[in-house]
Amino acid sequence: MKLFRDRRSTPLWRDEFAIDQADERYVNRRQFSKFLVLTSLGMLVGNVMIAVRSWLRGAPPPLPAAPVATASEIPVGAVKLFNYPTPQDPCILVRVAAERFVAYSQKCTHLSCAVYYEAAEKRLECPCHQGYFSVEDGSVLQGPPPRPLPRVVIEQRGETLVATGIETGARPGGHA
């Protein structure tokens, strides 16, 4: 180690602040790109966790069958509200024709407001943000809801209408 600096060599300030500013900026950008790549790894881990969780969960157990109404108590174009599969799950049953019943979860897929049947337009309406669903298959016709209404599978057993399960996604032809 030299005791005295050579005056003709690099100036003192360069010895004190030895980092070149351009290099420092470059290193900062490179560090930032490394951080972004690590964030990308985090996103990948999140996606894999969702997939593994979905795989481990497997198929949901079949829901119990539950009588919800009798056919004669609902005129054509009328509705009946019921809860299925738990008392905390409100559903709406619509008789769209003499022999055709459809039922959906009453919770809007946007922010869970209760939807109601608009008989004049033959559609289900969410009054909170004017979201409209098709009464035929529960698909979104208009508004902010991101997904169709979950459909309650209804079977007609004699005079009794029985809920036997819930399907997600728009599948036309879901009727009793």
Binding site: S33, L36, T39, S40, L41, M43, G46, N47, T168
Partner: protein, 81 residues
């Protein structure tokens, strides 16, 4: 004298900027993919989660590849690590 500071040479800086921009775009796509996969899974559409995970892995590989590319340029240019 390193290639990055050689007169007339632009060094790996522009390459890093390009890689950084591409990584940022890929990351935005990956964020959207994560939220869409979560949304679909919670909605009961479980069939989309594995393709989403695979695409996310491809995007991560692309990001990692871009970063390794910049690292390789650094090694060539003798940039500070």
């Amino acid at each position: 004298m390193s290639a990055g500071s050689r007169p007339g040479s632009r060094g790996p800086g522009p390459a890093l900027d390009g890689a950084l921009a591409l990584i940022a775009v890929l990351l935005i796509v990956q964020m959207w993919l994560l939220t869409a996969a979560l949304e679909s899974d919670l909605a009961g559409h479980h069939e989309v989660v594995w393709p989403a995970a695979i695409i996310s892995a491809v995007i991560f590989a692309a990001c990692g590849g871009l970063y390794l590319f910049v690292e390789g340029l650094d090694r060539e240019a003798g940039r500070p690590r």
